[in-house]
């Protein structure tokens, strides 16, 4: 098995075997990243393909300051965001001035399989989905998200709140249908 450095060198040289090895090493993880931001699996695969193309063409500029998977994840997120930005432009996000945030409770998602969780996120409106991914999962704050998406900080907050409430509703629906979802109590 090739080391990460050997893979990088091979990819920079244009060695197709090394490129395939790198793709196979990270494609599954990156597929999930793309699915979270995309509206469908097809969109996710398009973003995955475009993202890896960028990875291979710009790998020579990778200086090893961050972990390779972190660097690739950033490229995938940017690629996915670029694909969604057009939609955001056509359907600009609006501030939701009043959001009834339910009291935050401890939940567990252990009872859900990955496809169900992805389906829940993909069912969110475009703006909500992006902000939720960036805030809740990637760990960016609202100021950073506002800068990335070209929206106000307040819009980011309101989109996040809406995403959160929508997800809780979906979890409740699931709970009602199947009786329980792990140990979660909403």
């Amino acid at each position: 098995m090739l080391s990460e450095q050997e893979l990088i060198k091979g990819c920079v040289k244009g060695d197709r075997a090394a490129q395939k090895a790198l793709y196979e090493r990270y494609c599954r993880k990156m597929m999930v990243v793309c699915q979270r931001y995309a509206k469908s699996s097809q969109e996710a695969e398009d973003a995955l393909q475009e993202g890896f193309l960028k990875v291979f063409t710009s790998l020579k500029s990778f200086r090893g300051d961050a972990r390779l998977d972190t660097w690739i994840t950033r490229i995938m997120i940017n690629t996915a965001l670029n694909a969604q930005r057009q939609k955001l432009y056509l359907l600009p996000m609006v501030d939701i001035t009043e959001v009834n945030l339910p009291e935050d409770e401890e939940i567990s998602l252990a009872a859900f399989n990955l496809s169900e969780l992805i389906a829940m996120i993909q069912s969110l409106p475009d703006g909500c989905r992006l902000v939720f991914n960036l805030f809740a999962i990637e760990g960016y704050n609202h100021k950073e998200i506002a800068g990335m998406l070209g929206i106000s900080e307040g819009t980011s907050k309101s989109q996040y709140s809406r995403a959160k409430s929508l997800l809780k509703v979906k979890l409740n629906v699931h709970n009602n249908m199947y009786g329980k979802y792990g140990e979660a109590k909403i």
Partner: protein, 459 residues
């Protein structure tokens, strides 16, 4: 507030996706593979176009350089041939006084004496009846000289043996056409005696340095993308021009009877040095583009025996034919004295380099062009008796303000520390246009030099 939220709801989602993986369809790699192939094809196409242009430029440069070199060599050879022709002219005139009738009458004697001449080891050409076989490669004067010699040696005879003569003629013609005398040919009677022995040839591979062994041939790229260097070079300057001829001879000037005898030093060798700055950028793994700015100084020494009389003083005269004509009335003959002529330029080179070796030791081949801006020419009398004469650039100057030079060089470098290299760079500079505007007696200077450079690598 944000932190609190993240600690519960968000963390649950983050944890759920922390190690999550899902297989994409196989079509993603197939499509990606096609995209990569297409992208590589584009890069390859661009590279091919670049290499094609580079090859075309190199061939063009080689053709131009070869043509010019051949032209000047031929020109030089022609002048030598002419001199020889002139020197032999009087001799030929004497030989040509032998009338054609004499030749016809003496042909018999010529044929009769061929074998004797061959035995004497004579390399004089022999031909048969030129009028009948039409294969003669000798001119009439050669025949006359030869016939006269034959006649002298044999004392003359009128007997003709037709058969024998024909045989001899064909044999002699064959030898003459091949341009080989009988002494040069091995005797057919010589036989090889003794027994042939088998000889085994053992081929030995040359010893290979350990540094070329497979294990040690790992890629050790320098990782250098941008660097600047300062350097100086010195070498041989050949102006490719007849300095003495236009310094000492002016056929159009009747006012001064100039000496035309000194022509042995017409193609003098001078010296050249340059100092400059270079900036280079790597554009691909092996290719480098570099440019810079440098000061050139090219000096040449030659002898003159006249000077310009100017306002009661004498000064060394500018070596330009056109100016020489215009100022002929101000010239005066002097004792021969040594002149040092110095041309100064600012040069702006641009070169493409190919890195053959890019490790601790580097080896680069470069070729390109330079724009040379003429600054000044200074003529100095080495004895100090005459005043210095300087001519700058401009419309009224005999020197071209701008000229272009073709550059070829190689650079052998050694990395010192992480950001420095020192290098030796032998090179050739061929000026595409003469330094002087006048087309008479001017040439395209060539400089062979070797430079030392100190390179700083930007990180």
């Amino acid at each position: 507030m944000e932190n609190t939220e993240r600690q519960k709801f968000d963390n649950a989602w983050r944890d759920a996706f922390q190690q999550a993986e899902q297989n994409p369809s196989a079509e993603v790699w197939s499509a990606l593979d096609s995209e990569l192939t297409r992208a590589e094809g584009g890069v390859m196409k661009r590279r091919v176009v670049f290499y094609q242009r580079l090859a075309a430029a190199s061939i063009l440069f080689a053709l131009v350089f070869g043509s010019l070199t051949t032209y000047y060599n031929l020109k030089q050879d022609t002048s030598v041939v002419n001199e020889i022709a002139n020197a032999n002219k009087s001799t030929n005139e004497t030989d040509n006084t032998i009338p054609d009738q004499t030749i016809k009458q003496d042909e018999v004697a010529e044929n009769e004496d061929k074998d004797e001449l061959a035995e004497d080891g004579s390399r004089l050409p022999k031909s048969g009846d030129n009028k009948t076989n039409g294969n003669s490669i000798f001119n009439k004067s050669d025949q006359s000289a030869f016939i006269a010699q034959s006649k002298k040696d044999s004392g003359g005879t009128d007997e003709i043996h037709a058969t024998e003569q024909g045989t001899r003629q064909s044999r002699v013609n064959a030898k003459a056409i091949a341009g080989i005398s009988t002494q040069d040919l091995p005797s057919p009677e010589v036989k090889i005696s003794g027994k042939l022995r088998d000889v085994t040839i053992v081929r030995k591979l040359p010893a290979m340095p350990a540094s070329f062994m497979a294990e040690s041939r790992k890629e050790k790229k320098s990782g250098e993308d941008l660097w600047a260097s300062v350097g100086a070079s010195a070498g041989n300057y050949s102006p490719q021009a007849n300095f003495n001829s236009y310094a000492m001879a002016s056929p159009a000037t009747g006012a001064v009877n100039l000496n035309n005898s000194a022509s042995s030093n017409s193609y003098s060798q001078g010296s050249a040095y340059s100092v400059g700055l270079n900036l280079a950028k790597r554009v691909s793994n092996h290719w480098v583009v570099q440019g810079g700015l440098s000061y050139l100084n090219q000096s040449i020494g030659y002898t003159s025996n006249f000077a310009t009389v100017y306002a009661g003083s004498k000064s060394a005269f500018v070596a330009d034919y056109a100016t020489l004509q215009q100022n002929a009335s101000t010239l005066t003959l002097t004792n021969p004295y040594e002149i040092n002529s110095v041309n100064q330029f600012v040069s702006l080179p641009i070169q493409a380099g190919y890195l053959l070796v890019d490790r601790k030791v580097g080896w680069q081949l470069s070729t390109g062009m330079a724009t040379d801006i003429f600054l000044q020419n200074t003529l100095t009398d080495k004895s100090g008796q005459l005043d210095k004469y300087s001519a700058g650039a401009g419309d009224d100057s005999p020197y071209r303000t701008l000229s272009w030079s073709a550059l070829m060089s190689t650079e052998l470098s050694y990395k010192v520390g992480t950001q420095y290299r020192v290098s030796l760079a032998p090179g050739l500079r061929y000026t595409m246009s003469p330094v002087l505007k006048s087309a008479v007696g001017t040439g395209n200077p060539i400089v062979w030099d070797i430079g030392f450079r100190f390179r700083y690598i930007f990180k």
